[in-house]
Structure formats: C-alpha cells, structure tokens
Symmetry: C2
Subunit: 427 residues, 2 copies
C-alpha cells in the first residue's frame, strides 16, 4: 500500500502550531508495516489544495487528508474534494443527523457555522467521528482511496484506531513489524555508528538500524519486518549492547531517571539530590517517573549560599574561600543532603548556569558535581559550553547517569562527557 | 518570493519525532512577510528526494531543504542535490576546514563518519554552521535558490537568523510585519475570543488577531502589516489587556515563572517552594529564568512524609490523621519552607500525581495548594482530571500564577481553574 498524507491549514504554515498529527498517524501505522510515503502541507488555498489532492491520488493507493473540516470559511477540504471529483456540494443526511445528535448531547443549538460541516461532496461516504462535530469524508479518485479527517488530535486519534485502521486492514496487506529502541547516554551518534559497524560488520539485511538524536539520550532503533524475526532481533540487541556496553541505559521508553530509579529499586538504595545550578531539575526529572517515591525521599534546592549553609551544613569559611562553585562545597552539599534526606546515595551540583556570574577562573558553564555515598564519594569539575537551558539539561542528565553508573558498579565516566572534564587544579 | 520547504528523514515518516523545524522557519520568516507556500516531507529515499527537489525547484523561488546532512549512511541530501544538478560529489575544502576546526575545539579526532559531511556537490557554496559539524549547502537549480540545512534544531535556528535571513533579504522583498504576543493564563480560548469580541466590536481591519494554545499559557497574537501601525498596535494591546485584565501575564517571551520573578523583584520579595507532588518542577521552572537568584533562595522537595516532618516541621500526628494530602499539611509545609528558606512568600503543594495512590476520598489528581506569607496565607483544594505529567505541569503553573497574583494584589482565582476547585469539606 502506498500511503500519502496531506495536511492543511494556515496555522501550520505560519508556525502557530506544530504538526503532531502526522507523527500520530505514523506511530499508529508503523506496527502494521505501513509507512507514509510522502507528506505534503499547504495552507487554506483552494486551487493549491485541489492540485495536491489530484497529484497525490495519482501517485498512491491511499491519501489521508487532515484538517480543513471545521466550521469556518477557511476550512476548504470538502469543497476541494468535491471539485477534484467533479461533484456538487450538498447537505449530507448522515452528517446532519450526526451533528444534531452531537448538539443535543451538549444542550447546544445548531449554529449556521456548524451546518457548514454537513455540506459534503454528493454521494460521498462518511467516516464516523466519536468525539467531535465534523464527520470525516471517504471518496475514491483515480483509483486512490481518499480519507479526510478533522485536525483536532483527539478526534483524529479515535477515528484512526476505530475507523480507518480497520478499513485499511480490510483492503490492504498489513505486516508484522517489531521495533526495539535502546536509549544510549554518553556517546555521540557518529561514535555509536562507528562502534556498531566495527563490532557488527555483517549486519543482517532484514533488521533495519536507525538513530534518533533526542538529546541528551540517543536512541538506537532496531526494526524487524516479518513474523519470524524475534530471535534475530534479540540477537542484534545483544550485539548492540555488547558494543556500546554501559552506555546503554535500557529499552525505551526507559529514561535516564527511569533507569536510575529501576537500578536503585533493584539494589534497594534510596537516592537524594542537592541542587544549586540545576535548581530542582534533577528532582523534577526523578519525580516525573511514576513510583519515584519508592527510592526518592526528596531533595534540597539550595540556590543561595545561605541555604547551602542552613539546610546542608556547608561551611561558611569554605564558601567564602573556595567559592560556591568548588569541589569542597559540592562534596559538603552532598554530605549534607545525604544526612538531611536520610538517603543511601545522592548527587550534588553547584555551577554557573549563566548568562551572568562567570569569571576568568570559573567561566559560565563551570560545574562541580559530587556523587555517591558517604563512604564512596566522587567529584568532578566540568565546563559545558552551552547556554543556560542546555547547561541545566546536560548537568541534570549527567548527574542521573553518574548515579546510575555508581549503583550498577561502572567506574568509567560517560565517554562523550570526558571532553568537558577539567582538572580540579583549574579551580 | 515563493518559498517551499522540503524536510527529510525516516524518523519524520515513522512518527519518531515531531517536525518542529518547519514551525521554527515559519516563525522566523513571518515578521518579514514571507510565508511558506508548500511543505513536503519524505523519508530517506534517494530517487524520491531527487524527484521532490526537482519539482519544488520548478515551482518556487526558494527551496529550503532540512535534514539529511548528518554523518550516517541514511543522510542523503548532499547526494540528492548533486544528482539533481548533475554534479559529482567531492570533498569540499571549506567544509573540511570547518570540520577540522570543530573537532579541534572539542579535542576530538576526525572520524570517518564525520568526513562524509565534507563530501558535497562539486562547486556548491556552503552555509556556515556556528554550532554543529555539518555545513549547509547552497546551490541553484531551475532558477530556484536551494538552501540545505541540518535537522538539529539549535543549528538550524542559528543558521536561519545569521545566514539565511540576511541572504534572502538581499535578494527578495521583505515586508514590515509587527507581531505582539501576550501570554494569558487562566482563561480558555473561547472565553478569550468572546471577551475580546464583546469588548472590541470594531476590531481594526489592519490588525490580525490570532490565538495559539500552548498550554498552560494561551498566546494572543496581534499582527500589524505595514510600517505605520505601531500606535494602532499599542492601542489594541491596551484594549486586549483591559478586556482580559489580570489574566494577562505579559508580553511574550515572558513565562509564568518570569512574570513571578519580575513581580517579586519589583516588590522586593523573596520566594520559596515546598513541593511534594510536583517534585521540584516549580523550583526548576523558577530557576530556568536567568537572574532567578535575585528573588529565589531555594526550595525543598519533600517527597516522603519523613522529609515533610524532618525538613519542614510538619506534625506527625496531622500527617497521620489528615493525611499527606490535606489542608493542614499544605499549610504547615508552607510555614516550614518560609522559615527554612528565610523567604517572604512561598507556595506549598501536596497531591496525588498518579497513576497510583488514589482513594475514593482523594482520587488521583487531588492537590492541596497553600500560598502567600506567614501573615497572609491562603489554601485551596483542586482535583485535576489529568495524567501524571499534565497534572504536574498544571499544578506548577497554577502555583506560579497564584503567587504572582498574591504579589501584585489580585484576589481572584484564575477563572479557568475554578472548575477544578473543590470545597475543603470533601477532604
């Protein structure tokens, strides 16, 4: 099946909204082996819409049209489909009865604007919409099945799974596709690629290898197409894990905080955080994971020096002499947090997120990070050449991964981060 | 200028990532009066890429190609441009010297994979990339200017503003478009629309009104097209602010935490947070704003009951009798945080983010929020019917906005949030 997608709406062209609908379609179709061949987006422009519909129909088996079914004058999809198929627009009885029911359920009277949604190309079939006022439209043109759906994501989602997938499965062959995504932290995309091609020179042809750089975690995606490739997929997974070893944090949707929480759960360790420059981001990422409370009693955001002293017991003279961004303060913050939170392990970060606050000795981007336990504490100075938001994201990601490595017993620093490390003497 | 966009990458077709790059392009071009005419997305498929490049060039003055310049084998943009223009691929000296400098700055050796990024169509011009390893490509085909950029958003952004916009301004007519975006919190889109059409029935024809629901903040966008509309725009802004009054948080990019920090700075108040169910998100959002340290000494993430007692002095018997999610605990958390952090005002939240942990009396989504100062403390119970991530986002947004209202002296609760409020007696 050759499947094309046409999305429409001025809001898509003006950058007012980001198109998440076509990603939703792709995600729903992917496990069935259907991949979108080509996707076109145009504004609310009738001649252009007609031209694109006609061309995409000529070049595919199915055309999904999304958007432009609303009640306003710039919703042009029904009109365009009618023109392309040379049919008149007229009131569609099923669409009208759907709209009447929809309004009744909401104690709402039928507005003139809504009535526009019942005027469809003559003799078209409708696609039921379980959530919204606009029905979808189904027609054939040039031997291509056209399916038009509204742009509201929740309506589209329901129509895709309840109506469109069953319809397409009845007409087209669907496939068995298994996908496996591994999260990798601390290696760049080119390093991963190199390591994999060195370690696995004879990569099997029926397993597709892909990458997705969703910083700070890199995704390695293995796709097997066919019913009997489960074993081969598992074998490839093991080879990838061997090649990338402790940089693999796990099978996605595992996240860095998720991997840490799982490791802590397995090792029955509780974890805390003392944050200055990340300002709560580490704690917030940990608690974004359901069940974080099993291992995370809490943390302290000691943004000011006053709180570093009052809540974490950092020495006033060290703060003055070594400065807030120093090894001793980071280690004292961690000791203080471990004690205050009664946790087994933890991480402390103190740094200069910028844009202000840097000095020649300690430029913006400098951070001291201390991690581990009372008895096994490590610390490291790094300088990240990133702007504030990216700096906070990377420090937080590194903190979570250093703790994970500590828990699972890996001593090595994440490779990609080594280039940002600085000797303590540069303090 | 007729401007088309071609984005490429299997990850876009497989639903692995949502294309935010074309929205970024549109946002950057909008103030110059340039609107994208047509946008096409295809996977990593060389013949299809070549065909689309050729067709889009035939139908436009400028073609922006995004993606496919990376170091891996499935990055095909350079190859496709070379094929379309019938040129060989060869090592480009400027691209090579860019890459060498880039690697030197990172103490990184030049990898074979990276070297692929220096192999470009013969005699093409390059577009400088200030952030990444891959340079952009500039060529002409069928009288159309082709500009290829990498898919990494931060690299694209920098290249658009520093390289591509100046280049296009030198060649094509640009317009004077002034856009003003106001952030609104606590009103839904239809309410805003209604209030504005009631308050300003004679909306001027040369000022375009638009909305963008980027939850939790709604954007109201005013666009004036023409050189002499500055005064009219300011007048419209005042009318909008009058109609929506204290729901307007300010001109974007002001954020909820930004508006609170600014208000605290003006009123010389320091602010702290005691977080249970938001787990550090409030502190993290506050410290995402540069200069947060002026007003934010820090906060406490008291995720466990133990820490609520130990760090915030919440009474053990109240925790046992009323439960962690109760008015008295929220208020004690706030008192404790104000004292521990030495802050003038603060907010405390305790709730059930889910998916587990709910009960018939206190379902998932229940939250108690306490805000204000020692002498002027308020509290409210709400139940949000959202899943974990959205719950944490909304609680955090509401907390920040309640504090802003407290600081600027507005007593009313944000209207849109009132429907989630519950009487204390339902505890």
């Amino acid at each position: 099946m050759k499947l094309n997608v046409l999305t429409t709406g001025n809001e898509l062209m003006a950058g007012d909204i980001i198109d998440s609908n076509s990603a939703m379609m792709a995600e729903i179709f992917e496990p069935l082996g259907w991949r979108i061949h080509k996707k076109v987006t145009v504004g609310d422009d009738l001649p252009l819409l007609c031209q694109e519909i006609d061309q995409l129909c000529a070049d595919g088996d199915v055309l999904l049209i999304n958007g432009g079914l609303g009640p306003t004058v710039d919703d042009l999809t029904a009109e365009a489909m009618a023109q392309v198929c040379e049919r008149p627009i007229q009131e569609h009885p099923e669409a009208l009865s759907h709209l009447q029911t929809w309004c009744q359920q909401r104690n709402q009277s039928l507005s003139k604007a809504n009535l526009k949604q019942t005027r469809l190309p003559a003799d078209c079939a409708i696609i039921a919409n379980g959530r919204g006022s606009a029905v979808g439209i189904r027609m054939e043109h040039r031997g291509c099945l056209m399916l038009a759906t509204p742009g509201v994501p929740s309506e589209l989602k329901q129509m895709l799974s309840e109506e469109i997938v069953p319809l397409l499965r009845g007409r087209f062959v669907s496939d068995h596709i298994r996908t496996l995504r591994l999260g990798v932290f601390g290696l760049g995309e080119s390093t991963v690629q190199e390591r994999l091609s060195d370690a696995i020179p004879d990569w099997p042809a029926d397993i597709e290898l892909g990458f997705r750089a969703s910083m700070p975690v890199l995704e390695v995606k293995l796709t097997a197409r066919g019913e009997h490739l489960g074993d081969k997929l598992s074998q490839c997974r093991r080879q990838v894990e061997d090649a990338l070893c402790h940089h693999v944090i796990g099978e996605l949707p595992t996240s860095l905080p998720g991997a840490l929480i799982e490791a802590c759960r397995q090792h029955q360790l509780s974890v805390c955080a003392a944050e200055s420059c990340t300002g709560g981001l580490i704690a917030s990422q940990l608690t974004s994971v359901p069940g974080a409370s099993d291992v995370f009693p809490g943390g302290i955001v000691s943004y000011s020096n006053g709180l570093k002293k009052a809540l974490l017991g950092v020495s006033a003279s060290d703060l003055e002499q070594a400065g807030a961004v120093s090894e001793t303060v980071a280690r004292q913050m961690l000791s203080g947090a471990l004690k205050a939170c009664g946790a087994d392990i933890g991480v402390a970060v103190t740094g200069i997120a910028g844009p202000g606050g840097g000095s020649p000795d300690k430029p913006v981007g400098t951070v001291w990070i201390a991690w581990g336990s009372h008895s096994a504490m490590q610390s490291q100075r790094l300088v990240f050449p990133f702007e504030r938001a990216a700096f906070q994201q990377w420090v937080s990601a590194l903190a979570l991964d250093l703790l994970r490595r500590h828990v699972v017993g890996v001593d090595e620093f994440p490779q990609l981060m080594q280039r940002f490390c600085q000797p303590a003497s540069s303090d």
